[in-house]
C-alpha cells in the first residue's frame, strides 16, 4: 500500500521533517480520509498534546473528533472500547509510558481479547499511542520502556517506528488495522529529522515486516525504536574494528518478522539484540530465544543482549549510564567469539 493511495493528492516537496511532525501528519491524514477516526486523550485538543503531536487536529476536525478527556486513563481506553464497539476507530494518546498503566486492565482484559471472545463479531480497531523510553531527561515515571508488557499479551499488535518515514507509514497502517495496536513512539526520536515530504507517496509496508537498515556480513544487530540510531552508529564505528554489521529494525514486535530476522542471522552467524528496556524479562529474551531456535546451527556464538539494567529507570543525571550506548553494543559484538568461527 502507498500512503498516496491512503491520503489522497500529493505533490513533491521534500524537506526535513521531525518524527513528531510525521506522526501528526499521519493522524491528520487518517482523520481526513476516514471520518470514523477519533483522537482522544489528555490535553490532545486545545493544547495539541504535551509533545504537540495532535497539534491542530481539534481546530481542523472539531473537538468531537479530537477530544480533551477527563484525566483518567482507564476511562479513556474504556470509552474508546465502547466507541469502537459502535464502529468508530479511536486513536488514544497516553501522555507518557508509565501513565498508561492505569489502563492496563482495560487493555489486557478487553482491548486484547474482545475480537477473540466474541469470535470475530466485535473487533476493536483501536490504536493506543504511547510515547515511551528514556533519554530525554525526564523525571521518574516519564521514561519507562513498557514494551515487554504489551508483547506478552496475545491479541495486541505492538508497533514502534524508528524513522520519520516509518512514523508516518506505520501509524497510518496501525490506525487502518482492524486489530488493536499499541503504537510505541520513541520519545527521544520525536525531534529526529529526516528529509520527508508529507505530500510524496511513501511505500508503506504492512505491519509486521522488519527491515534491514544496513546490510552487513559479520554479525546482525537486532533492534527497534529508540535504539536504532545507536545501532547504526555502532555499525559505523565497527567498520574500524573490521566488523561489517548488519542492522535489522524490527518495526513491529508483534507480529514478529521471524523470516527477515532469521535470514539475516543465518547469513551472518552472529547476533546481538539491542534495546533500552531492562534486560531481564524484556523483549530481548524472546528475540534471542526465537532466533536461536531457528538459527542454532548457523550460530558461531550465543545471541547476546545489550539492554538497560534490571533497575527502575534512573534519575536523568544518571540515565546515560543506564542506556545502552555505542560502546556497550561494540563490547557485545566483541564478545561474539570471533576466534571460534569466521
Amino acid at each position: 500500500m502507498t500512503t498516496a493511495a491512503m491520503a489522497g493528492e500529493r505533490t513533491d516537496r521534500v524537506k526535513p521533517a521531525t518524527m513528531a511532525q510525521a506522526l501528526g501528519r499521519a493522524l491528520r491524514d487518517s482523520m481526513a480520509e476516514d471520518p470514523t477516526v477519533h483522537v482522544l486523550g489528555e490535553d490532545v485538543g486545545t493544547l495539541g498534546g504535551v509533545f504537540r503531536i495532535t497539534d491542530g487536529l481539534a481546530k481542523e476536525f472539531g473537538e468531537d473528533r479530537c477530544t480533551d478527556t477527563p484525566l483518567a486513563e482507564a476511562g479513556i481506553l474504556g470509552t474508546a472500547v465502547g466507541m469502537a464497539m459502535y464502529g468508530l476507530r479511536p486513536v488514544v494518546e497516553m501522555q507518557f509510558d508509565a501513565f498508561a498503566y492505569p489502563a492496563f486492565e482495560q487493555l489486557i482484559s478487553h482491548v486484547a481479547k474482545m475480537r477473540n471472545r466474541t469470535r470475530g463479531a466485535m473487533p476493536l480497531p483501536i490504536t493506543v499511542r504511547v510515547p515511551y523510553g528514556g533519554g530525554i531527561g525526564g523525571v521518574e515515571h516519564h521514561s519507562d520502556s513498557s514494551e515487554a508488557y504489551y508483547m506478552a499479551t496475545p491479541g495486541l499488535h505492538v508497533v514502534t517506528p524508528a524513522t520519520v518515514d516509518d512514523a508516518y507509514g506505520l501509524l497510518r497502517a496501525s490506525i487502518a488495522s482492524d486489530d488493536p495496536v499499541v503504537f510505541l513512539e520513541p520519545k527521544r526520536l520525536y525531534w529526529s529529522k529526516a528529509p520527508w515530504s508529507p505530500d510524496a507517496p511513501v511505500e508503506v509496508e504492512p505491519i509486521g515486516r522488519a527491515v534491514v537498515r544496513r546490510p552487513g556480513r559479520s554479525a546482525t544487530l537486532i533492534t527497534y525504536g529508540p535504539s536504532l540510531p545507536v545501532c547504526l552508529e555502532a555499525a559505523e564505528a565497527a567498520v574500524e574494528e573490521g566488523w561489517d554489521l548488519e542492522v535489522v529494525d524490527l518495526r513491529s514486535l508483534v507480529p514478529f518478522d521471524d523470516e527477515t530476522v532469521a535470514a539475516s542471522v543465518r547469513r551472518t552467524g552472529r547476533a546481538v539484540v539491542v534495546h533500552e528496556s531492562s534486560g531481564f524479562g524484556g523483549p530481548g529474551g524472546e528475540i534471542a530465544a526465537r532466533v536461536t531456535e531457528r538459527c542454532f546451527h548457523h550460530l558461531e556464538a550465543p545471541v547476546l543482549r545489550v539492554a538497560g539494567f534490571d533497575i527502575p529507570y534512573p534519575p536523568p543525571m544518571l540515565e546515560r549510564h543506564h542506556l545502552p550506548g555505542v560502546d556497550r553494543v561494540l563490547d557485545a559484538v566483541a564478545r561474539l567469539q570471533w576466534e571460534a568461527g569466521s
Binding site: 474504556g78 472500547v81 465502547g82 475480537r115 466474541t118 486489530d179 514478529f256 521471524d258
Partner: protein, 387 residues
C-alpha cells in the same frame, strides 16, 4: 510582593474567587430519602395494567430461568451459575425499558436481563457452560458481552452511547453493575466521563446487599449508592429494586432523559440476592437465615402478584398461564442444554487477529498434527470432543 504592587489591589472587595461558580445546582441531583416505590402506594394508579401484566409474566419466567440454570449446574451442564433470584424485577425492567436500537451492558450476573431482551438462553449461557466466552453476536440484540471484570463494562457503555450521539443516532445505553462494583475505579471514571460528555447512558446499580461475602457496610459509608451521583453532577435515583413497576418507571424516566439529551442518570435499585453468590458459594458463612427470610417477605413476584390480584387484573388462570409459559421455557432450555456442544479445537486460533500471524499458523499446524494423531489413536474425532 506587597499589596501595593499588585495590579487591581485597590479594587479588591471580598468576593468569591473569580472563576468559581457551581457547575450544577446540587439539589435536584439528590436521590429520594427512601427507595421509591409504586406497588402498594398511590403511584400505582398511574401504572399501565398491561405493563404490569407483562412484567409479571417476565418475572415468573425469569425466576424459572434462574432455577433451571441453577439446576443445570447440579447436573454438570453448566460450570457455574450466578443466580439473580430475588433480583428479577431489576433484570426484567432493565431489559424491557430499552428500545430495540438501544444497547444493554450486562455484568456477569445479568444473563436474565439479556434473555429478557431477546437473547437465546442457550447463547446467554455458553460462557457459564464453558464452551464459548461470548456465545452470541453482541450486535444482533445490541447486548455487550457479559462482563466479568467488575465495572469495566461501564466506560464501554459510555463510549458507545457517546459514539452513537456523535453519529446522530438516537441510542441509549443501559449499563448494569453490582454494589461491589461501585467501589472500582472504573465505576468512577465511567460516571465522570458520562456526565462531562452528557452521554445518553443509564447506570443501574443492583444493590443486592453483598459482594460475594462482603456486606454493603464494608463496601461504602455513603448515605446510599445513589448519592454518588451528586459527585458527578448527574441525578441519583433510589428505587425499591423488588418493585418491578417502580424500577421500570425510574429506569424509563432515566432512559427518556438520556434520549432527550439530558445526560446520564445513576439508579440504585435496592434488592437482595436470595441465592448464594454462585452455586459454588456457601452463603451460610456470611449471612443468617433471618435476613433471607425478611427479604422473602418482600419478594418481587409476590409484590406484583398481590397488586395484580388485589386489583382483579390477575386470577388463578393468569397465574397458571404464566407458570406454564415459564415451564415451557425451562423444558426447552433443559432439552437444549442436554446436548454436548460440538467444538473445534482449531478455533483456538481463528479470532485472535483479523489475519492469523505466521506464529499462530505454525502453532495451529502443530495442534492439527496432535489432533490427527489423537484421532488415529482412539478412533474419535479430535474435533467436537467438548468434554
Amino acid at each position: 510582593m506587597t499589596v501595593q504592587e499588585l495590579p487591581g489591589a485597590a479594587a479588591y472587595r471580598p468576593t468569591p474567587p473569580p472563576a468559581w461558580k457551581p457547575l450544577t445546582n446540587p439539589a435536584p441531583l439528590l436521590p429520594d430519602p427512601e427507595p421509591y416505590r409504586v406497588l402498594g402506594t398511590a403511584a400505582v394508579a398511574d401504572a399501565d395494567p398491561e405493563l404490569l401484566l407483562r412484567l409479571y409474566a417476565e418475572l415468573v419466567r425469569g425466576r424459572r430461568y434462574n432455577a433451571q440454570a441453577t439446576a443445570l449446574t447440579k447436573q454438570g451442564r453448566l460450570a457455574v451459575y450466578p443466580s439473580s433470584t430475588g433480583q428479577e424485577a431489576c433484570e426484567i425492567a432493565a431489559a424491557l425499558v430499552l428500545e430495540e436500537r438501544d444497547w444493554l451492558f450486562p455484568s456477569y450476573r445479568d444473563t436474565l436481563a439479556a434473555v429478557a431482551r431477546g437473547l437465546d438462553p442457550v447463547e446467554a449461557l455458553t460462557l457459564l457452560r464453558g464452551d464459548r466466552h461470548t456465545g452470541y453476536d453482541p450486535r444482533e440484540h445490541r447486548i455487550a458481552p457479559l462482563c466479568t471484570p467488575l465495572a469495566t463494562q461501564l466506560p464501554h457503555a459510555v463510549g458507545l452511547a457517546h459514539a452513537a450521539r456523535l453519529k446522530g443516532d438516537d441510542v441509549v445505553a443501559l449499563a448494569m453493575v453490582g454494589d461491589g462494583g461501585t467501589s472500582e475505579g472504573d465505576f468512577h471514571e465511567a460516571l465522570n466521563f458520562a456526565a462531562v460528555w452528557r452521554a445518553p447512558v443509564v447506570f443501574l446499580v443492583q444493590n443486592n446487599g453483598f459482594a460475594i461475602s462482603v456486606p454493603l457496610a464494608k463496601q461504602t459509608a455513603a448515605p446510599s449508592l445513589a448519592h454518588k451521583a451528586v459527585g458527578y453532577g448527574m441525578p441519583g435515583r433510589l428505587v425499591d429494586g423488588n418493585d418491578a413497576a417502580a424500577v421500570h418507571q425510574v429506569l424509563g424516566e432515566a432512559v427518556a432523559r438520556a434520549r432527550a439529551g439530558g445526560g446520564p442518570t445513576l439508579v440504585e435499585a435496592v434488592t437482595y440476592r436470595m441465592d448464594a453468590h454462585t452455586n459454588a458459594d456457601d452463603a451460610t458463612r456470611y449471612r443468617g437465615d433471618s435476613e433471607v427470610e425478611a427479604w422473602r417477605a418482600h419478594d418481587p413476584i409476590m409484590l406484583l402478584e398481590r397488586e395484580l390480584t388485589e386489583r382483579g387484573l390477575l386470577g388463578e388462570d393468569g397465574i397458571e398461564e404464566a407458570r406454564a409459559a415459564a415451564e415451557r421455557m425451562a423444558a426447552g432450555l433443559r432439552a437444549r442444554m442436554n446436548a454436548d456442544p460440538v467444538l473445534d479445537p482449531m478455533d483456538l486460533f481463528t479470532h485472535v487477529y483479523a489475519e492469523q500471524t505466521a506464529q499462530l499458523r505454525e502453532q495451529a499446524a502443530r495442534l492439527r498434527v496432535e489432533l490427527d494423531a489423537e484421532q488415529g489413536q482412539d478412533g474419535t474425532s479430535g474435533a467436537g470432543d467438548g468434554r
